[in-house]
Symmetry: D3
Subunit: 131 residues, 6 copies
Amino acid sequence: MATLGLIEYHNASTEVRAVYDDIMTTRKTDRVNNFWKAIAHDPATLRRTWESVKQIMGPGALDPLVKEMIYVAVSATNQCGYCIASHTVAAIKAGMTDSMFTELMAVVGMANETNRLASGYQVEIDEHFRT
Amino acid sequence: MATLGLIEYHNASTEVRAVYDDIMTTRKTDRVNNFWKAIAHDPATLRRTWESVKQIMGPGALDPLVKEMIYVAVSATNQCGYCIASHTVAAIKAGMTDSMFTELMAVVGMANETNRLASGYQVEIDEHFRT
Amino acid sequence: MATLGLIEYHNASTEVRAVYDDIMTTRKTDRVNNFWKAIAHDPATLRRTWESVKQIMGPGALDPLVKEMIYVAVSATNQCGYCIASHTVAAIKAGMTDSMFTELMAVVGMANETNRLASGYQVEIDEHFRT
Amino acid sequence: MATLGLIEYHNASTEVRAVYDDIMTTRKTDRVNNFWKAIAHDPATLRRTWESVKQIMGPGALDPLVKEMIYVAVSATNQCGYCIASHTVAAIKAGMTDSMFTELMAVVGMANETNRLASGYQVEIDEHFRT
Amino acid sequence: MATLGLIEYHNASTEVRAVYDDIMTTRKTDRVNNFWKAIAHDPATLRRTWESVKQIMGPGALDPLVKEMIYVAVSATNQCGYCIASHTVAAIKAGMTDSMFTELMAVVGMANETNRLASGYQVEIDEHFRT
Amino acid sequence: MATLGLIEYHNASTEVRAVYDDIMTTRKTDRVNNFWKAIAHDPATLRRTWESVKQIMGPGALDPLVKEMIYVAVSATNQCGYCIASHTVAAIKAGMTDSMFTELMAVVGMANETNRLASGYQVEIDEHFRT
């Protein structure tokens, strides 16, 4: 078997359940996404990843919605199907409207295009960007 | 010679100058970045790219600062040195503070990490993300 | 039709069969994976790729299991679903335990994260890394 | 200014110094790499990243040298110049010989090649890789 | 719902229908691909993307078939399943034979391999490539 | 020292010299690029890579110039500075004009953009692309 499968709550260890509980409480939901159930095979990674995500995506200098849209931007750039699907839903929950989504996609597409024009044309970094 | 070099204003055709002028007017600056001077070897691409960037990065459903930060997120994910340098400057001009930048980077780093955990663990997309 | 389909053993040319036979003998199996059956439409690529893989993945300075895990690390970074699935199975056959797999994923995830922090923060390479 | 620059020990806050101290103690060195000095502008990210790296790269199911080589494999795949330079040095310190390095590169190169053959030929995942 | 779904011709606005009509006329087909029906939720992006594609992929210094093969090369490198499928079909329509496809894949695979050897070995750019 | 450095002809083993000689003869030049001098630390990889490149880039179903342009397209997509520089020179030698180069870049940029629109919008592959 190539994949480890998912660890459901009723099969989870106390350590894993504690993280699941914190995910559900923090996110105000009674669901734990497959992502967490998959990496739960490694409780240390489950805890570390969840604690990091909670810290990073929580209140701070950037709006939670902005952070979710950045997550979608990175995931679309990397072609990660799972992450695009899950973080688009999260962004919608955080308030992303259809027109915000389509505008996000336009920026992501354009950035990916100009990234390659810049490298392909071997453009040197402007002096005033360095100092 | 491997690179085409940069087309400065005084060497530019009328067609290219018109785009340069619009860039400087739109951005309220007297400078044209190397990126535009490089792709100016192809006036059609220069015009099309500028018109697209102007349309996409202009007023819309998302804040201009948010769009610049998304540009930085994509560029950092793609390891495009030129684009990281230029769009970080642009984001700072649009109002990005140090703490917004460091938080942006934290999200970009985390998204790149979980993108690979999701693919490496071969996580199936949750049913409720599809419907 | 967009894909060329798979070339099964009974439909294969003598040249292709010779490679299939060598794959099965070398890997001590009676199965040829879809990957080889797909690229068999180009016998030169089939032979060259197989000879290269056999040479690179064979005995050397690195343990075969280590090499398979490196293969998984690259495939997860690139989001190649086929390669993640097939090389995870190969790594398990080569002795990868569950805890080795989850630790591998933790390293892959972290490397993908810090790769972007390094580029996003535009970190200069330390002098002592260059000399 | 586009980059935040580096925070040297003598300019660092107590919080940042504590992480620098732990890095130097753990790694048995009197140097802190530029990477840490750059992300130190965000003490939370500095601490979180260092704690994660320390946990992941420490003793476990995989040999420390193997982990450093996986780090190099990911960094080379992502074209991260800083990370390739720093983790190649780290891998050498951990015992990587020249022949181990060149073999590592051969595997990384081959994996990147077959990743694209698999996607380009649109190869379906074999049934026995799924179950 | 995470995805916006597809906008069919009979549900499309006049603005969107005009683009669909131009796509079908230009491509001499009575079908509009899902890609266009998806991004039609953002008529500005639909129009801009279509106008750009039409301009870039139209008659020029490069043969249309060559351009379609370059599209496939980029899409396979990026692991974009949709784009590989659609542009492989487009390349076949433009005249790509089986042997041209397999040779294209061989080049794409090799380029992806040597890209990583070059970065992993930290090869400095030859002086004569710069001047 | 993090990099192995370059192996010049006068320091090369007989085995390595044989490959260098073949490179210079095949390419009708008296120069060996840094790439080969770097991977020469691993004579098996040097030979295998050169033999593969010679086979793939030689006469076939595609024009040599087209193949060099595909190489540039992949390298620009991957942000590989060395490969962009060296293969752009190679393409120019093979006959690439300025307008062919700028058109190539336009296609590469556009493909990178639409790759992300397709993944971000989660576009399903059209039925007629599959059969």
